[in-house]
């Protein structure tokens, strides 16, 4: 589904990703772990199409297409989803209107008619239950006045509504208490099928107790230095990232 080959990315003339490569097939859950400053968020932002990054080498193929040639909204329409580490507040735009616009843009890109209002409402209510959102959520402005946990749950809620092929969770667990963590993990697990895939970017192993990864990659100094299964995460928890500094 996704192939990243030898990706080199600079920001402000500083190279952050230094030959990053990764292969993701459908149905798989990949965890990417690493210390701060190693380029984890850069990876997420570059995949989503955020401006300001200079791609100096390498390629990204998503579902057979050159991802780097698509704009951010086109990538989302093709089924790529980034759950932000710090979701922004958007006063004046309600959660309902925001999602209706997103859902309809996706449908339009796929040659479908806009969603019927009652169908949309039904879908919203269903997905809200999945992440345990309160009823007033629909009319509230996007993320406005939300706690950290609520913002992260909103990311998972949006993921449920848009049903992406590839979802990248950028440190979704940061700042979450155990209850919020469980809700987020539960949401992801319920959405996981043999047709979609997940990249779970995390600093701590804890989330991976709830979202069991098929592969764990260690990212260090802008590239993947080791790949293993879920046990690698436990090993990292014990030994830390220092072991990679000599490589």
């Amino acid at each position: 589904m996704l192939t990243i080959n030898n990706l080199h990315v600079k920001i402000d003339n500083k190279e952050i990703l230094k030959g990053f490569s990764l292969q993701i097939n459908k149905g798989e859950i990949h965890a990417i772990m690493g210390p701060n400053g190693t380029g984890k968020s850069t990876l997420g932002n570059v995949l989503a199409g955020k401006e300001g990054y200079e791609i100096t080498d390498g390629e990204i193929i998503f579902e057979g297409e050159n991802l780097l040639e698509l704009e951010a909204h086109e990538r989302a329409q093709k089924g790529l989803f980034l759950a932000f580490q710090y979701p922004v507040e958007i006063p004046g735009v309600s959660n309902a209107n925001f999602l209706k616009a997103a859902v309809n843009e996706q449908r339009k890109a796929n040659g479908l008619d806009p969603i019927a209002p009652n169908e949309f409402l039904k879908m919203m209510r269903e997905k809200m239950e999945l992440v345990e959102m309160k009823k007033d959520f629909i009319s509230r402005s996007v993320n406005q006045g939300f706690s950290g946990g609520e913002k992260k749950r909103n990311e998972i809620f949006q993921m449920a509504m848009l049903n992406p092929k590839l979802a990248i969770l950028d440190e979704t667990d940061s700042g979450l208490d155990i209850d919020a963590l469980r809700i987020v993990a539960n949401g992801v697990n319920k959405l996981h099928t043999s047709e979609n895939a997940f990249i779970v970017i995390t600093h701590y192993q804890r989330l991976l107790d709830y979202i069991i990864p098929d592969f764990v990659h260690v990212m260090f100094d802008g590239k993947i230095v080791k790949t293993g299964d879920k046990n690698l995460a436990l090993e990292l928890e014990e030994k830390g990232y220092e072991q990679f500094e000599t490589i």
């Binding site: 199409g49 989302a76 932000f84 004046g92 735009v93 925001f98 997103a102 843009e105 996706q106």
Partner: protein, 403 residues
């Protein structure tokens, strides 16, 4: 046009005096602080003609051009500055007195626009609403232009009695987008415990000019809400003065200016808190695109005896282009020591992080900008009358291409 004015001789003494006053005072210039950013001269450089009674009989106006008018129950309609009894209909209560009156009087205000208005005034509104009158339905005042290059002067006097509940809206309708200049002066007296809501919907097109001077006096425990929504205008200058003369009175001033092309909108407000325990709440928001210019000057004066006054003012601007300009100046003069007053002014562009968030969810850049712009306007829109809110929202959406 100034030359034309100099050659006029009125029969009416008071008009003639005002005309001479205006000529002596001279037009506002940009050397004056209050007119620093608004080039009034541009208005009178146009070859405007003074609207006269004769013209009305010559024009045929098709009401169907104005759906808003058709749906309105109560309406006071002025076509090219002349009152149309045929198209108007006002509340049939003995407590509601209306007549078409030019309200000419002896005047020596020292203000060019006010003197000009008194000199040239044609028709105008005189309304007296007696104590206890209450009306749910909006009363619409329509200024409709059909003849090109006219200058319309209207002077309105509205006396609102005790405990009255009433809603007014003023509309500028210019179906053929012609050039014209409205110089409107309104005096509104609000008695005790009355609640008045007033929407000014200024949508006369990019070719019209408007100078609006509105003077309001509030008595004890009255509530006055004024919403000034400017959607177009070559030059629009609103001067609002509210004297809070009664304890426990409060007012809410909401403004929204949505400017494109070379529109210019200048909003001045002055609130004088003359009694203790009064509140004023001001929120003006501007959205400026292309080469448009916005000016905001909000002044609050709290007299020494006006203890426990709460006065809050905020002006926020969203600039959608590098060539748009906003000049904003809040002013607070506080002479009492037990008050809560604040003011704030901001100007910003669309937030990149908000834009990217929407794009990352599949919403294209243009649509995302539109959603964010509509959201910015929303804070003011939700404060105006439902009917007007829908009208303005539709206008913004079609401007921004959102469905």
């Amino acid at each position: 046009m100034l030359e034309t004015l100099k050659n006029i001789k009125f029969q009416n003494k008071e008009q003639q005096q005002s005309l001479e006053n205006a000529i002596n005072i001279g037009m506002p210039t940009m050397k004056q602080e209050e007119w620093k950013y608004t080039y009034y001269n541009k208005i009178l450089q146009n070859p405007f003609e003074i609207a006269t009674q004769q013209k009305l009989s010559e024009t045929k106006f098709d009401v169907e051009l104005v759906p808003l008018l058709q749906e309105e129950k109560y309406k006071l309609v002025f076509i090219d500055g002349i009152f149309s009894a045929e198209l108007s209909y006002f509340p049939q209560s003995h407590k509601f007195t209306f007549w078409n009156n030019n309200n000419i009087e002896q005047s020596n205000t020292g203000d060019f626009l006010l003197e000009l208005n008194n000199a040239l005034v044609g028709d105008g509104i005189f309304i007296e609403i007696q104590d206890g009158f209450s009306e749910e339905e909006n009363i619409g005042i329509y200024y409709i232009s059909t003849i090109e290059n006219q200058i319309f002067n209207l002077k309105n006097k509205i006396k609102i009695g005790k405990n009255v509940q009433v809603k007014f809206s003023e509309y500028y309708i210019n179906p053929n987008n012609i050039s014209g200049y409205y110089n409107i002066v309104s005096y509104i007296d609000i008695a005790k415990d009355a609640n008045v809501v007033w929407d000014k919907i200024q949508d006369g097109g990019e070719q019209y000019y408007l100078t609006d001077n509105t003077f309001v006096k509030q008595d004890r425990a009255s509530v006055y809400t004024i919403n000034t929504i400017t959607v177009s205008g070559n030059i629009v200058r609103n001067n609002l003065v509210i004297d809070v003369d009664g304890e426990y009175a409060e007012n809410h001033m909401n403004g929204l200016y949505l400017l494109h092309g070379k529109d210019h909108c200048d909003n001045r407000t002055l609130v004088r808190h003359n009694q203790p325990n009064t509140n004023s709440n001001e929120l003006y928001k501007g959205i400026l695109a292309d080469n448009s210019t916005g000016v905001f000057n909000g002044k609050i004066i709290v007299a020494q005896i006006a203890q426990k006054t709460n006065a809050f003012q905020s002006n926020r601007n969203l600039l959608l282009s590098n060539d748009a300009n906003i000049y904003t100046k809040p002013q607070l003069e506080i002479f009492a020591d037990d008050v809560k007053c604040s003011h704030g002014a901001t100007s910003s562009q669309i937030e990149d992080s908000e834009l990217f968030y929407l794009q990352a969810r599949g919403i294209g850049k243009e649509m995302a900008k539109s959603l964010l712009t509509l959201a910015f306007a929303g804070e003011v829109l939700e404060r105006i009358t439902e009917k007007n809110k829908n009208y303005i929202e539709e206008k913004i959406k079609s401007d921004l291409n959102i469905n």
